[in-house]
């Protein structure tokens, strides 16, 4: 009984698909479904042991020290796109201020830019942003070098990096 039912259902589905295809061809209709996905993908490659691909806990950071993060950015779209980086430094206990950071350098094979001036203070943390064009269907290797001011409060800091179109 079950087999018969399954066969009947299969037959009906097959017939439906065939008729659907036929109707599509005859009536000059093109139909398809798609899901648009975010074209950028950012992955922190170093240091090892970060929280996830876009966030890294630096542990205890002391004033005057420099931290370095390596990450890859991929543009999966088939057009060159302008992406905006957002680099956020989040202290665990203290309140961070823009003047506690000496420099924030974004380095790749072609250029090195200091984005310290783009600093925006939020509730307890600070973030920096910059935009750049990323070539279609390509991956760029980047290094983020942050130098903290001597006046920095000793604390556990986390860096979150994201890129938005």
């Amino acid at each position: 009984m079950n087999k018969k039912l399954v066969t009947l259902l299969g037959l009906m589905l097959g017939l439906g698909a065939a008729f659907g295809a036929l109707v599509t061809v005859i009536s000059n209709v093109i139909t398809y479904s798609f899901q648009s996905k975010v074209p950028f993908e950012l992955v922190i490659t170093s240091p090892q042991g970060c929280v996830d691909n876009t966030e890294c806990n630096l542990g205890t950071v002391y004033g005057g020290s420099t931290v370095e993060l390596g990450f890859n950015v991929t543009n999966r779209a088939n057009n060159d796109l302008v992406g905006t980086y957002k680099i956020e430094i989040i202290p665990r206990n203290q309140t961070l201020d823009c003047n506690e950071i000496s420099s924030v350098k974004l380095i790749d094979l072609e250029k090195e830019q200091d984005i310290k001036d783009t600093c925006v203070k939020t509730d307890g943390s600070v973030y920096f942003n910059t935009s750049e064009t990323i070539a279609k269907e390509s991956t760029v290797e980047k290094t983020l070098k942050i130098t903290f001011n001597k006046a920095l409060h000793e604390d556990n800091y986390t860096i979150a990096i994201s890129i938005l179109p």
Binding site: N2, N28, T31, F34, Q35, S36
Partner: protein, 220 residues
């Protein structure tokens, strides 16, 4: 079976979702329309469609902008290449329906009907000659009047003359064939008569031989 229905429905849903192609926002996709006159695009999305989230070109115009449904109309042509670009910030799942009409071109039918009639016209010239002249009595041009109608008539006249020449040639050929046939017939009748004559001679000879044989038998 009833208990399995929700599970089957869920499976069907997963199957439908899996069928949706992944498009990366900020990408452009092209569709070829070898034959196209009008193109209507309807896009139905699961999330709210933002302004300029999707872009169709060339010659496409957004005609309906609803929360989840957008419609475009495109002036397309044969060999039209539709460019579909997704805004880099887009994050949506949509169904696209492209309905287009095709223009089927029929070869231009150009027919000129000309009716000819041979009417004797008497010209009062000094010699008072009667000339048979072909005149165009009536013209019907269907389905439209071509601009170069005179040219067409000239062409028709020429073709008619050519046809006449061909007809004359055909008549000559037929007459030659008939002559050949008659000759063959006469030849064949001659041979037939000859054969009859020979048969007659052979029968006569046979009768004589039989007569001679019978007379010999009697004498014996």
């Amino acid at each position: 079976m009833k208990a399995k229905l929700p599970f089957l429905s869920f499976l069907f849903f997963i199957f439908s979702v899996a069928l949706a192609t992944n498009y990366y926002s900020g990408s452009s996709y092209f569709y070829d329309f070898p034959s196209c006159k009008n193109l209507n695009i309807t896009m139905i999305c699961s999330n709210k469609i933002d302004l300029n989230e999707f872009y169709f070109s060339p010659n496409c115009f957004l005609v309906e902008n609803q929360t989840y449904v957008n419609k475009w109309v495109c002036d397309c042509w044969n060999g039209y290449k539709l460019n579909f670009t997704i805004n880099p910030a887009s994050n949506n799942t949509c169904d696209i329906y492209m309905v287009y009409t095709q223009e089927i071109e029929f070869p231009e039918k150009r027919e000129v009907y000309v009716h000819y009639s041979e009417t004797p016209i008497v010209y009062n010239t000094t010699l008072n000659q009667t000339i048979n002249q072909t005149i165009i009595e009536k013209e019907k041009i269907v389905p439209y009047i071509p601009e170069d109608v005179n040219k067409t008539i000239e062409e028709l006249k020429k073709s008619l003359e050519e046809q006449k020449i061909i007809n004359e040639g055909n008549t000559r050929t037929i007459s030659l064939l008939m002559e050949n046939l008659k000759e063959l017939q006469s030849k064949s009748s001659f041979y037939m008569n000859l054969a009859l004559f020979l048969t007659f001679l052979a029968s006569l000879f046979a009768i004589l031989l039989i007569g001679r044989f019978l007379s010999r038998k009697r004498n014996l």
